[in-house]
């Protein structure tokens, strides 16, 4: 065995040297950083598989799987797409525009395909899907261990067909089947309301082209109504355009305040975003509501408000997904997509994977599964109905707690003024 290894080194070394000589663009650092040794092991592994595996395996297949494995070991977003077959149609291209969509953001959380959040007013939202639902099956096909990109596009865009998801939901005993018909998002991206004691509430449900303009309208209206103190509701607000979140942050932050930083390693990727001084709403205190469905652009905005206007974050830890992706084409036409930079809050906290912790945590109510209750469906249905009626009448408990917080802060602030 030992002898064989020595031989393999002798045979491998010249190849590796040859390879390195042939390759352009490998910077010196990478070359010295153990690439030699890694490649030698690579040769060994391929050698062993090709010799001992029960079937013959081509080097090409091995290397394609290796590149795929390398990328998926980084995170669940990075992936490798082999060169498209020449016959492939336009389906391989960009996803259709948002005119027709399921309106659903998914990601892996603890290796389970999870609904980050359905976008408010979108078909998935209307069909009753909830953030945090774990997707077990898509059209009767198990989702287990399939790379994220395979269904991310499928779920976001929708090719005009109905889709049926089987999901597991927190607090529900049985799996739930949800069928979604793709359609339009037919509600505003932002809306506002005036609560008691001149406390305003701004709800942003997605970040797209119209969000900044809509938000500006809302804020002007609240200004006119002399709002003093604002609740920014970013719960269940999934990934969208970060640029839109930055525009929205500009509506609040004093000039020159840090909105967010984009951190990457390649040249020219890292950036700082500062507010442009066009703030139109300045009468705090601000409370920002977040939860596990707050993701991407919404997380960036939450961080900006926390840093720029002392916004108090309230709720549950956010999802943790705010990055820029880069795609690189290899010489055979295959493509590598990977995270090239991640967003940080002004406090220097990396949002990616970790999420943002709220300043004031409101734990989710514990799940109680009562067997006896389960057995009397009529009773359960009645209670559910009751609960829903309550919802209509009363204010969302989170909003109420946010209001209390604003009132409290006002009192303390007044004390300090004295």
């Amino acid at each position: 065995m030992r002898k064989r290894n020595r031989i393999s080194v002798w045979v491998t070394l010249p190849i590796v040297l040859l390879l390195l000589l042939r390759l352009h663009g490998i910077d010196v650092q990478a070359r010295e950083g153990g690439i030699y040794k890694s490649l030698d092991t690579m040769c060994d592994v391929m050698d062993i598989i090709q010799r001992d595996y029960i079937e013959k395996v081509s080097s090409e297949k091995l290397v394609t799987d290796a590149v795929q494995g390398m990328l998926s070991s980084l995170d669940s977003y990075s992936h490798f797409a082999p060169a498209p077959e020449p016959t492939a149609g336009p389906s391989a291209g960009a996803p259709p525009k948002e005119a027709c969509t399921y309106g659903l953001e998914v990601a892996y959380k603890d290796r389970l395909l999870t609904v980050v959040s359905p976008i408010e007013y979108a078909p998935a939202w209307k069909s009753g899907l909830k953030s945090g639902d774990i997707i077990l099956k898509i059209n009767d096909e198990a989702t287990e261990d399939r790379p994220l990109f395979e269904f991310a596009h499928q779920l976001r865009s929708g090719a005009g067909k109905d889709i049926t998801l089987q999901v597991a939901r927190r607090g529900e005993r049985d799996f739930i089947d949800v069928t979604i018909t793709p359609g339009k998002i037919d509600g505003p991206a932002a809306r506002s309301d005036m609560l008691d004691e001149k406390i305003g509430v701004l709800r942003i449900s997605r970040f797209d082209k119209e969000t900044a303009a809509r938000t500006a309208e809302c804020l002007k209206k609240l200004n006119a109504e002399k709002a003093h103190g604002l609740i920014v509701d970013l719960r269940d607000c999934p990934a969208g355009a970060v640029s839109s979140a930055i525009e929205v942050a500009d509506l609040f932050l004093p000039a020159g305040e840090l909105v967010t930083t984009l951190e990457g390693r390649a040249q020219g990727v890292s950036k700082e975003f500062k507010s442009n001084g066009k703030a139109i709403f300045k009468s705090g205190p601000f409370v920002v509501l977040i939860n596990g469905g707050t993701s991407g652009a919404a997380e960036v905005l939450a961080g900006a408000l926390q840093g720029g206007v002392n916004g108090i974050l309230m709720g549950q830890r956010s999802f943790g997904c705010a990055f820029e992706e880069g795609s690189f084409t290899l010489k055979d036409g295959s493509m590598i997509s990977m995270i090239t930079a991640v967003y940080q809050t002004p406090y220097g906290l990396e949002i990616q994977a970790e999420g943002i912790d709220p300043d004031v945590e409101i734990p989710l109510p514990p799940v109680v599964l009562d067997i006896d209750e389960e057995e009397i469906p009529e009773k359960k249905a009645a209670e559910k109905k009751e609960k829903e009626e309550d919802k209509g009448k009363e204010l969302d408990p989170m909003i109420r707690r946010a209001m209390d917080l604003i009132k409290g802060v006002r009192i303390v602030a007044r004390e300090e003024e004295k």
Partner: protein, 455 residues
Amino acid sequence: MTTRTLFRVFGGVAVACAVSFLSGSALLPARASDTQLRDSLDFFVSAMDLVQRNYYREVKASELTYGGFKGMCSALDPHSQFMDKAIYKEMKEETEGEFGGLGIEITMRDQFLTVVAAIEDTPAFKAGLQPGDRIVEIEGGSTKELSLVEAVRKLRGTPGTTVHITVMRPGKKEMLQFAITRANIQIQSIKDAGILMDKIGYVRITQFQEHTGRDFDKAMGELQKKGIQALVLDLRNNPGGLLQVAIEIADKFIGGDTLLVYTKGRVSSQNIEFRSHTKAAYPDIPVVVLVNKGSASGSEIVAGALQDLRRGVIVGSTSFGKGSVQSVLPLPDGSALRLTTAKYFTPKGRCIQKIGIAPDIAVTMSEEDEFKIQLKRRLEKMISESPRGTDVTAEKEEFKKLSRVRDLPLERATDLLQGLRAYTRVSHNGQKIQAQASTAGSSKTGVKDASTSAH
């Protein structure tokens, strides 16, 4: 024939071939001339370079290649796998059935690291850890963010060293502190050995690991002292383990230099015949083997050999059907590959991949009942093994509820062995039926007759 194929596969470069013959291992592919391999590596290097330059955080070259190995191996088939150092070490511990630890079985329940059971005569058992205890701290660090694997890693260690844990026990207000000294823990693969009734012995093998053969002999020795005349060998939910050890078990029942199993791979070194020793340890005792769809690999080798050689009657439901053999190939850096290198065949040449071993007598049990049987077994253990003074009324209640659940395959197995005994007694006394020479050589045919009558 072998040489010819290999030459055809790998082509020229006589030097490499000659050298590897000398070294006694299989042939090296002639790398220097393999332009495809070179192009492939070239491709991997360019992808790796892209990642190293553009990924948002720095990644070591070794991390990337490890990811590559994982991708390569797991794409081959579900049983092939790349094992990094830590996983390889764990696998070794598992198959050796020995490690430095506390002697508890733990699981993640309601997001708490929870003790399932403390194994008898281990440090954890002596310290008084109980099923249901929640381990909230290990060495002062919270277990909240730990995965099960990470927690196991923290609990295991060199025998003789001490680990401090904090435990939350349901019903107790205060946290309990334990300082437990790690010891060499042996995972028992032989379970519940005993007499069922009427001199019918029972042994369950949970997996085939390094000491299984030795432990099996020990259990059988004790049963024989008690005068067993027949044996139920329970291989249900035994996922396999070491091929050699499974063969060792089959060998104990079959003598006379008989073919037990053979493997066939792409490389001639993987074509091996495994034959029994001339003298078997238990050549005569009538055996019924219990299998179900959780019996795989090694279990199927044992069941297949005993079935083909008519040395035992197979009772239960069709087994899993895993007919491939994996070899573990260590790499110089301490990691290893687990690769499917061969398929195995029963003495009669059956490949059981995806087919499984069909029982001679089919007795199926619902999944729910099977689960209840396991639960019953566990409760029984908890009641009998919990340290004195522990409150086990709840467990006793539970157990009572399950008392009506019946292990049908086991009942059928004992019926069969009882009937068999009556039958052979008649045949021996009345000389009505002559024992026939069996394919297995020395078998006394009690079982053989039974298996024919069962068809």
